[in-house]
Symmetry: C2
Subunit: 493 residues, 2 copies
């Protein structure tokens, strides 16, 4: 067996342990009674230890050195690079830092769950400071190993190849037109009639509607399921993707749009190249590209009148409300495209969402680079919310800088992926429209040509191309925020 | 850390891997779409390899030797013995035999699924012969290591301490009165009126009834769930017990009695001593004792008129059939206590079941001891079915000697556990009745005193006592088949 093959075998082993961890993690969120939690955590931790030992085994350095000398095909060389990146990511940090990060992170997150409710910034700050300090240490170590700047070394974990220099340019552009656009859209929508949903939408019926819409989106039920969990997510493994949702009996659209979003994530996973299933090269390209697929489904595909015309009859029939005028295609689409600046990122619409992300990006970048301190966050948060969205968050920490879970466990560098995803999604749709009559396809009810384009250009590529190369091959150019701007203007003005 | 503590830590590690395997195994049966099967098998096999490597690690022999020299408490010494037994069980067989057993077993089982349908004994025989030959080899190795006879060395895997000498005595006793009892019961029931169930019992309603009855049986829903699978089982882990059932829309009693059975298994698991959760000493005593708990619930507790009086109103209400005379307590109890000799063991009633088991025991014992060959099975099967149940199985292999899965993968020695369980259950009930007014307790609707007795005398003991000692402490004597006979005579004559 060649050294490359040994590395492949090793990666498959790790991937299989990851499989078990993913399924048990899904079970924990969707199935497990709470009394099972303690033993489950212990079991999951044991598996994590075994996986960590495997990932950091001494012999791997030698194997990589040997493998790099071997005669390899182009595909194998790309796979080897992906294997090496994964190995390095696991081995850069000293064990005690990893342990401390996990410890401080769970302490901070645990306390945050109460502190947020109590608007207790002073208390939260005490836990966040050590988390930030450790993240700076992590950034320094990663920066030294990769040659990237401090923040970029963290960003690289989620968006390989992306830098804050590029992001700064893109986001400066967005900031130059977004606040005005938000104003204009609100003015336009001011006099738009929207009928609110009334009454109850039973969970069993919402679930049936979700399954119907997943079918419309060609979700592969032979390789996945839909279930319920407190925090919706897309989990499991690519051969068996588990998506979850949470139903609100007074408003079926929130769960439904959530299911459509997770179905986008799921179809990306289901469409990954099966032959490399257990190898890094067969995984999703990046967090941003993953989000581009969920947002393609949720935003590009679903929040428009053509799709609403497919959705409305299904909803009317499922809820037995053929005559409810709130459930017409026009009204559902109006509900799904309302724009309203608000405090909370996860509740934000497509137009105001980027403002939430840019604000967080700017703060976390400056935090990690050491230009600001934790103490400065509330004041900066408030100033930027005023500037970007016209919203006052003074003294309101719980709906301000304490609203997200991301920083509590030290996941700095993640936020940009959300808006990168929205931009890639818009760019993919623009490219797709050159070869697919999207409107006609949606109207036909057989959406396959849309998914075939995504499968061919995105899903089947796995991790074989850099993000830039992937986007260039799919759309003719690398990331260009103009498509996103044009999309928002076309849809909302 | 002492060597005993090292062994404990090692066992906990193995137990945690077992936890993940149990949950993923449950998922496979109850949740997983079929497209996930291949990757799941690979992941489960990978975990099995890791667990096997841990179980057979070189250093363990030395650890056990050292631990045996250490100062240990009585509890630790018992635990050490249980640890050692588990370790030896894993290490007696050479790796190539284990591998071949798994290979031949799955080949035979896989082919059996079609061959059984086609009544193809000649084809099945070709696969069964090598399985039996390998089981004989296994028996020889285990016999040499344990000093037990060939068959007893396999029996010991499921019923530690039980021997064929004891079984022969017990079963000779049963055979002396059972055929006549079956005759007498049938004569008595000949003129009994029984109203068949009619119409449809929707699955959602059956599920609601199952949950109600599980509540009546104090199933701990904070440490377990009920779901659906093709082959009902009790799985998961003791902190999170997963039971499954399969619903038949024309007959709710089959699933319901199955749920009650699995609830018995589940409550045993839920009641095991928590402080030894991850150690062999904290596990169930034996397969026979496990089955005694499920059969206590299903047979001793539930198939009588007092329990039927609790069940009937629940069923009437759930199915909205307050006036259906098939759903009276009396009629449900008549349905639940019908005796009719039949071909199929898993469909057999409480009275005829032991005949099925004794027949299988006698055949598998003689097979393993080398007194008969695979070729002899159909003729012996037919002769014994005629003698014990008055049933002709000539030429009918699929409802005769090909009906069970047990022999296909070489699980010889398992069958006696079923009837041992029924006997222990009867003995436990007789002992319990000396201190608990079981009828009054059932009638009150709060069944806790019954479960407290079981918890105190059986569940909380885990594996700290030998089976004989456990039964003696609980009932005043070791296994005595007279209680089972008296139970059958009291209930059915
Ligand atoms: Zn997403
Ligand atoms: Zn059972």
């Amino acid at each position: 067996m060649s050294y490359y093959q040994k590395l492949e075998q090793h990666a498959r082993k790790l991937s299989r342990l990851g499989h078990l961890s993913a399924i048990c993690g899904w079970d924990q969120a969707a199935m497990m009674p709470s009394g099972g939690a303690e033993a489950r955590s212990e079991a999951m931790a044991e598996l994590a230890v075994i996986a960590h030992e495997l990932s950091t085994a001494d012999y791997l350095a030698d194997w990589f050195e040997q493998a790099e000398q071997e005669q390899l095909s182009d595909a194998e060389r790309i796979s080897l690079a992906a294997l090496k990146r994964q190995w390095m990511m696991h081995n850069i940090l000293p064990a005690d830092l990893v342990e401390q990060k996990s410890l401080l992170g769970s302490q901070c997150e645990h306390a945050w769950r109460t502190q947020r409710k109590e608007n207790d910034w002073e208390g939260f700050k005490q836990n966040l400071i050590p988390v930030v300090n450790l993240a700076r240490k992590e950034a320094a170590i990663r920066s030294k190993a990769t040659g990237l700047s401090l923040y970029d070394a963290l960003l690289d974990l989620y968006e390989p190849g992306m830098t804050s220099e590029v992001l700064d340019g893109i986001f400066a552009d967005v900031k130059s037109w977004l606040p005005q656009l938000i104003q204009d859209v609100q003015n336009k929508q001011k006099n738009e009639a929207v009928l609110p949903l009334t009454g109850t939408f039973p969970i069993v019926e919402q679930n049936a509607l979700s399954l119907d819409v997943m079918k419309l989106l060609n979700f592969d039920f032979n390789h996945g399921r839909l279930d319920i969990s407190t925090h919706p997510f897309c989990g499991g493994v690519s051969t068996d993707v588990r998506i979850t949702t949470r139903y609100d009996e007074t408003d079926f659209t929130s769960a439904l749009m959530g299911v459509i979003h997770e179905t986008g994530h799921a179809r990306y996973e289901q469409g990954l190249p099966h032959q490399w299933r257990d190898l890094p090269v067969g995984q999703a390209r990046s967090m941003g590209i993953h989000e581009s697929q969920s947002l393609f489904f949720e935003m590009q595909l679903s929040r428009n009148i053509d799709f609403a015309r497919k959705l409305a009859p299904l909803a009317q029939k499922t809820f037995n409300r053929e005559t409810d005028s709130a459930l017409t295609a026009e009204n559902l689409n109006t509900i799904n495209t309302r724009v309203k600046p608000g405090f909370i990122r996860v509740d934000a619409d497509e137009v105001t969402y980027p403002a939430h992300v840019i604000l967080r990006y700017e703060i976390e970048r400056d935090l990690i680079e050491g230009n600001i301190e934790v103490d400065d966050i509330p004041e900066i948060w408030d100033r930027k919310m005023q500037a970007y969205l016209g919203i006052d968050t003074k003294g309101n920490f719980k709906d301000g800088c304490m609203q997200d879970i991301h920083w509590t466990d030290g996941s700095f560098g993640y936020f940009p992926s959300y808006t990168l995803g929205a931009m890639y999604a818009a760019q993919f749709m623009a490219a797709m429209k050159k070869v697919v009559d999207v409107q006609a396809v949606i109207t036909s009810g057989d959406l396959s040509p849309i998914f075939t384009w995504l499968e061919t250009n995105i899903w089947s590529k796995g991790c074989t191309l850099s993000t830039d190369e992937l986007v260039k091959q799919a759309t003719g150019e690398t990331l260009n925020p103009r498509f996103f701007q044009q999309h928002l203007m076309a849809r909302y003005l």
